[in-house]
Symmetry: C2
Subunit: 378 residues, 2 copies
């Protein structure tokens, strides 16, 4: 028979909120399984009495019935169970429960004792504004695409965008290190083109290359990008792992803001009864990892994010989270210039608008399309 | 107006299969959006004629109507668009489309020219069998739990398991580097206990510590585990990123098999209309990343995997995949000893049975429970 040692825990706990696709009559039982699944992963009747049963096993703090036979439950965990690592924090919050339908992680509250291990975004809203020296309006972003253009074509596009008043020019997230778009020459030539545009205009457009890459290639690409004059870097947490983003963000010698791209993370949010909420995934967790601006598909575009999802996401980018800086939401995904005024009202001033394809399709030359984009917010 | 350069592509293409929650009348249009979304991410009418439109944009190879207003489509992509990196391959297969409901990645076929960049599992079924010197039956695995036990309790459990005939003893995936279970002393003492058991029995039980950790800590834990005498390592691709697993697997100086744990990956599979199929995620992609044994929740346990899901997963572990070795499926998740004979029939001989909690709950001492487990297959 196993016995529980005295664990000398601090008593501090973190809170997770889960939406359950279950009526109130079943919610307590389902919440109880989460308490065990996420911690001891052991049959309840065999869990040793004492600190393991009383402190390590998750604790149901509340069960709130919702409309439509659903409930929201809050479960707390001893902060020590999360270790001091984002990987184990994620595992504790949702590791095994991700494998069960009808459970969605929709909120978390972390004590200072945990938050202090997460310095978070190095730049955030204010730091990014400082880099581009724009204080009174949303920032403008566009992407270099389509995949398959030559490096000199991409560099030419980049010059046009930067000269036309775009604040951040990023690689399309499909540009990695393909034979038709090798990373180093792309980054070198595009960075040079944007630097030239900045000299010509006196503005401070940032080039944000995509450094999403093999685990053993990221460091080299970061160094190369920095040395070539990149003004930020883009990483897709769904492709490289969220903690890899945190590692990059915590590297003071890099000193570049991080833009996150949602590739492959959609599976966490699109199933309404499962996964992780938009606000937690693209807001709270992105900030914990040190993301400075979080790209996501805006409502009403090519994707299926709803108005409420986008609202919650934007709120999570700005909500109090210990000492962590607020970050920019970056609505994207088939946005057209016509929508900018409405998006401005919806998101307020601290937002980055990412418009790609539409700049090419306005029946005017690209420079003129950029000026239109810029004028919409000037 | 953008023009397409001549891209000098090889003409070799990779195939992806998607299940669409759409009737045949809508499938062609939806498949077309996937072709663009996964590659150029650009309005179709603006994509430059020539190689970009003809070769880079995905190509619909077939549309097969299914029962229940569904379709399966096959789309091919120029192999060059995947680069030579798992991160970009994942992005190409499902990056943006993960953000749209009603699209599920259910299959992929890679040309040799891509597969040669993925050496895959270093051990696989045969290599793991060699390590434990067991050739004629499924392997037995159990976990060290519950979280909160002292290191000496875990070491004592480990000795009992190893002496009782278990082939692989792994850390519970919730054991990371917590104050109550610091990684280094845990690995040292558990490895020593299992080494002692092996000396006492003449068998070759492997200790598989959990090295899922912060991106900047994994390397150190791997080295420590190796030096302490670990016989394998466990990584959760959902927590560290699939390509981090690939990097570990490709490190010849480590020389330890990799067991993957499905924590946080559930959100890809539980929504039937979205995400990635069980076989692709836990079979094909795991093998590409070099996993030697893939843990997943068996049907009929605490989780919601179906019989067909598990069948497809096991098949993907063994199916031809270039030169990549077949790997062990590791059904788990609340399995009881009583189910072992049925699981043996279902999975055949090349399987690892992972039974945790039930060994503790049989009303006999643990050593006896291990012998029961062992006798079921001997």
């Amino acid at each position: 028979m196993l016995t529980s040692p005295a664990l000398q825990l601090s008593g501090e706990r973190l809170q997770a909120r889960y939406a359950l696709a279950a009526p109130e009559s079943e919610a307590q039982a389902l919440a109880t399984t989460i308490c065990y699944e996420q911690t001891v992963e052991f049959p309840a009747h065999l869990v040793p009495a004492g600190d393991i049963r009383d402190e390590i096993v998750g604790r149901i703090e509340s069960v709130e019935p919702q409309e439509g036979e659903r409930c929201v439950v809050e479960i707390s965990y001893a902060m020590e169970t999360a270790g001091q690592e984002l990987t184990q924090l994620l595992n504790l919050l949702f590791g095994n429960s991700s494998l069960k339908p009808g459970i969605r992680l929709i909120g978390l509250t972390l004590p200072e004792a945990i938050l202090r291990h997460y310095p978070g975004p190095s730049f955030g809203v204010e730091g990014l504004r400082q880099l581009v020296d724009v204080w009174d309006r949303p920032l403008l972003c566009t992407g270099l695409k389509p995949m398959g253009l030559s490096i000199s074509q991409l560099a030419e596009l980049a010059y046009t965008f930067a000269a036309g008043g775009i604040d951040l020019v990023k690689d399309d997230h499909g540009l990695a290190n393909q034979p038709f778009s090798p990373f180093e020459s792309r980054v070198e030539q595009v960075a040079a083109a944007i630097a030239q545009a900045n000299r010509d205009t006196g503005r401070r457009c940032l080039y944000v290359p995509n450094v999403t890459a093999a685990a053993d290639a990221i460091e080299e690409r970061l160094r190369f990008a920095k040395q070539a004059g990149a003004g930020g870097v883009m990483l897709a947490p769904g492709l490289v792992g969220l903690d890899t983003v945190r590692r990059v963000a915590s590297d003071d010698s890099l000193g570049l803001p991080i833009i996150s791209h949602p590739a492959l993370q959609g599976s966490f949010v699109v199933g309404r009864d499962n996964g992780i909420s938009h606000g937690v995934l693209f807001g709270t967790l992105a900030r914990l990892a040190g993301v400075d601006a979080s790209i996501f598909p805006n409502h009403g575009g090519r994707f299926a994010f709803g108005v409420d999802d986008c609202q919650a996401l934007a709120e999570a980018c700005a909500a109090p989270l210990g000492q962590l800086r607020p970050i920019f939401p970056v609505p994207a995904g088939g946005m057209r210039l016509e929508r900018v005024p409405q998006m401005r009202t919806f998101y307020g001033a601290d937002v980055i608008f990412l418009i790609g394809g539409d700049l090419h399709g306005r029946g005017v030359d690209l420079a003129e399309a950029c000026r239109e984009f810029h004028h919409l917010l000037a």
